[in-house]
């Protein structure tokens, strides 16, 4: 690894495009929807000042996690890793994404059928599972970036 000049490969970490990628998801998936509720309240002169957890209290954050997982699976499929590694990564990303999405589905079913529903639990579950998807996505993107540099040598 050292003989192949990995130092040169990692020297441009400053470019860190995965940081931009994280920023995009954070802003477009989480901050923009929250800011839009604020803007709506301001426009309609409403006293509504929702906090982040109130905007996503029905587990909607789980859906953001699922979308994120899908985009990383897509990147993984396009990579030059062997099929076994791609399959392994895709399966675990998909499982984590589905579990995150399931929080929203469960909360929707509970609310619709009038079964006992606790918004605090839906928020906590979706937040934790989305955090997991997010961390998996970041590390996978870092690994993909490294691999792309190795194959480009």
């Amino acid at each position: 690894m050292v003989a192949l000049g990995i130092n040169e490969l990692t020297a441009d970490w400053a470019s860190a495009k995965w940081l931009l990628w994280i920023g995009l998801y954070l802003s477009l998936g989480i901050i923009v929807p929250w800011a839009m509720t604020r803007a709506w309240a301001h426009q309609h002169h409403s006293p509504l000042r929702p906090r982040l957890r109130q905007v996503f209290q029905n587990g909607e954050l789980g859906l953001v996690g699922l979308m994120l997982a899908i985009s990383v699976i897509w990147d993984l499929q396009k990579s030059e890793y062997t099929s076994d590694t791609i399959a392994l990564g895709s399966v675990f990303l998909a499982m984590a994404g589905i579990m995150a999405g399931a929080v929203w589905i469960e909360s929707y079913c509970r609310r619709t059928t009038g079964t006992r529903f606790r918004p605090d639990r839906a928020w906590r579950d979706s937040r934790n599972l989305t955090l997991l998807v997010f961390s998996l996505a970041i590390v996978t993107e870092i690994l993909l970036d490294r691999f792309a540099k190795v194959t480009a040598l």
């Binding site: 050292v2 984590a96 934790n128 955090l131 690994l143 490294r146 190795v150």
Partner: protein, 144 residues
């Protein structure tokens, strides 16, 4: 047991892996590859994942004031071992396949494959047993 309970800890483990990869882009992967070549990586990962899983399970049981079950503990102890051993065999097959092909820069590719495989296996060995326990709970609930 809810999947969200171990998810946060697993996310921190994953972040730590990513951080080590960014801060030590040469030495951290080198340590992993060297330990894999010396056949020490799988036992270390088994020890780490089983202890982490049991610690997580006990802390969740303590938080919920519930009694830890034997079946769940057995699942947490055995599933990571089977997963890690099985996926290690898969990695060996992957490496043999990479080296057999006439691919340029094959050795560097193999190192990156080992790194990615180690990461995904680590995640699988921590998340897998909790997923099984959760599915088992769901199945038990559905039995009339």
């Amino acid at each position: 047991m809810r999947l969200a309970d171990p998810a946060a800890t697993l996310a921190y483990v994953s972040f730590l892996f990513g951080l080590l990869l960014v801060v030590f882009p040469v030495s951290f992967p080198h340590i992993i590859v060297q330990n894999w070549q010396n056949a020490r990586l799988t036992p270390i990962m088994i020890l780490f994942t089983v202890s982490l899983n049991l610690g997580l399970y006990l802390s969740v049981a303590h938080q919920r004031s519930s009694k830890p079950g034997i079946l769940a503990a057995a699942c947490l102890g055995s599933v990571p071992v089977f997963l890690l051993a099985g996926l290690n065999l898969l990695l060996q097959a992957t490496i043999a396949h990479t080296l057999a092909g006439n691919i340029p820069n094959a050795l560097a590719r193999v190192d990156e494959e080992i790194l990615a495989h180690t990461y995904f296996t680590l995640i699988a060995a921590i998340f897998g047993p909790f997923l099984l326990i959760r599915l088992g709970q769901q199945f038990r609930k559905n039995i009339p």
